[in-house]
């Protein structure tokens, strides 16, 4: 963990998610950034200082799973909480096997989100 407020990044191509999740997390005391694509996140300076990544599973361009692989390849194992709107039971074991902390299915409650983030920050 870094000194000061912990920095959480939300990566999701859905604009409403990029509006709502950061606001909730800031109300809970976190510093939050958001990106509309995995490519934008990788190109930013946020990569090196992210303490927890909330990552959409399915996105145009680079998917969430591909971003996870890329971060691992770079030696940057940021704790990841996947979120998805697809009710596919095969997703959770898949992403957890790849190293994700958790996978939340939309719509998830505030409690579920904060518990997953807390777990992820302990790993960081």
């Amino acid at each position: 963990m870094t000194a000061g407020r912990q920095f959480i990044v939300v990566v999701d191509d859905d604009e409403s998610v990029r509006e709502s999740l950061p606001d909730l997390l800031r109300e809970c005391g976190y510093a939050v950034g958001s990106f509309a694509s995995a490519e934008d996140f990788l190109a930013s300076s946020a990569v090196e200082r992210t303490d927890c990544l909330i990552l959409d599973y399915a996105m145009p361009g680079m998917t969430g799973l591909e971003l996870q692989r890329e971060l691992t390849r770079r030696g940057n194992p940021v704790p990841i909480v996947f979120i998805t709107g697809n009710e596919d039971d095969s997703i959770r074991p898949l992403v957890v096997a790849a190293g994700a902390v958790d996978c939340l299915f939309k719509p998830f409650s505030e409690r579920q989100l904060l518990d997953a983030v807390t777990t992820a920050l302990k790993v960081a």
Partner: protein, 550 residues
Amino acid sequence: MSADSGWVESFPGLLVTMTTAGQVELFSREVLDYFGKTPEELQHWSMIDAVHPDDLPRVVAAFNESVTTGQPYSIDHRCRRADGIYRWFHIRALASHGEDGNVAGWFVVLTDIDDMKRAEEALRADIEERKRAEDALRRSQAFLLEVQRISHTGGWRYDLATDTVESSAEIQRFYDPQPGEDITKPPFWFDRIHPDERPRVEAMFAKCMTEKTDYQAGYRIVLPNGQIRFQYATGHPVVDDDGNLVEFIGASMDMTEHWQATNELHQASEALRELQTAVSEASQVATMGELAASIAHEVNQPLSGIITNASTCLRMLSGDPPNLDGARETVRRTIRDGNRASDVITKLRALFSKKEFTLEPLDISDAAREVIALSQSDAQKNGVMINADLVDDLPPVTGDRVQLQQVILNLIRNASDAMSGVDDRPRVLLVKTERETPSSVRVTVRDAGVGLDAQSIDKVFDAFYTTKSSGMGIGLSVSRSIIQRHGGSIWATPNEDTGTTFAFSVPIANEVPTNTNVSIEVKPFLPQPPKASENAGATGLKRDGSAQYA
């Protein structure tokens, strides 16, 4: 006999004196040199021997006439030089008379006019050639003017150094200049362009000037009387030896009648097209499980936003002091996401009604031609040129004409939308039909738009997948279902330069499955677990390497 008269011998030219019998008496030195004779030979030589055979008859006639009449004679003819070369001479002969008044002899002066003769011949030939060229040019100009008039095409030239425009009569005719307007200056031509399209056209022309590239643009012009005409202009840059742009030359075609006819056809067919669209979109039936998953995905997104925003709102209201502005914003988003969920349900409801397929033999080129005609008006409003390459004698396919036309219409609309932001190249869309194999025909729609990346190519036919800021991403999924129902396949391929090519193939008649079940599967957009193959989700690869869904 020798030249005992010094003045004759030293005469600066060819001079001989002759007897009435034609024998040479006195002669200048140059005579010996030219004809290559010795004085003794000359004495017994008849000059007739040196005359060109073609000139001989008239020379003899002239000489005899003079001898008979005693009158001088003057004639031009060729004389053979010692080396065998003939040269033109002007021969002037004057009779000398004795004391009895009779002709005693002849003074003959030969003046070499060969150079002058040849120059005259060359000049005559030049004049003839120039006349022929001028005649050809006049005919060509007349032909060009007539061609321009018939085809409603005019030519123009823009000179950078003088900032002036030259224009043909035809192009002036359809731009209708008024008294006081200066057609030699660029503002006149740009001022006529429709205000909605002027920025785009000006930007494109400026870019072509900067990059010295060819120019193409279709646009409306507004005449002083309010009439709107449609122009299609092309231009080509001309550079000097140093590569500097010196001028643009081009042509402009008036396509107003074509445009008006297309608009009238579009207006007459508008109701039919809306009915076709409604029927086509209402014909989709998905398997319940897959559709439920699709609905769940699309509704879960806004529901998640509602719950998150509501949670945030409560926290903000619980703060000390309460964050009222923040809370209002979360409530606004909650309402927005609620409406979004409602919209999803409304649009999805339209997919549930069943309609029967009408299978019949149809000419796919003919069907495509109708769709192109219906699409022209919208395309022209967007500055898009639709080119058609339709084969007329394709074997018929068995299919639902309305459904297949819906697919073609969807592809054309997508192609046009893909070019909506393109300003640096012509917005050209190509619709093509062809015989693909002995048992199938292919329809291709190619655009010059922004293109699709490799990942999007794989997913573009999935339901609810869209790269557009508006729209649900249903069109291509439905299109795929329609084509699959016809026993065909549909795919997308990135173009080598810009844009994308969408294509589908359908079997020709007697090759189509006879099952008339109307069920059409709408494949939901579901994430694919990673597979060994790079083309996860594809059922195969086309021969060019693009993903195929068949």
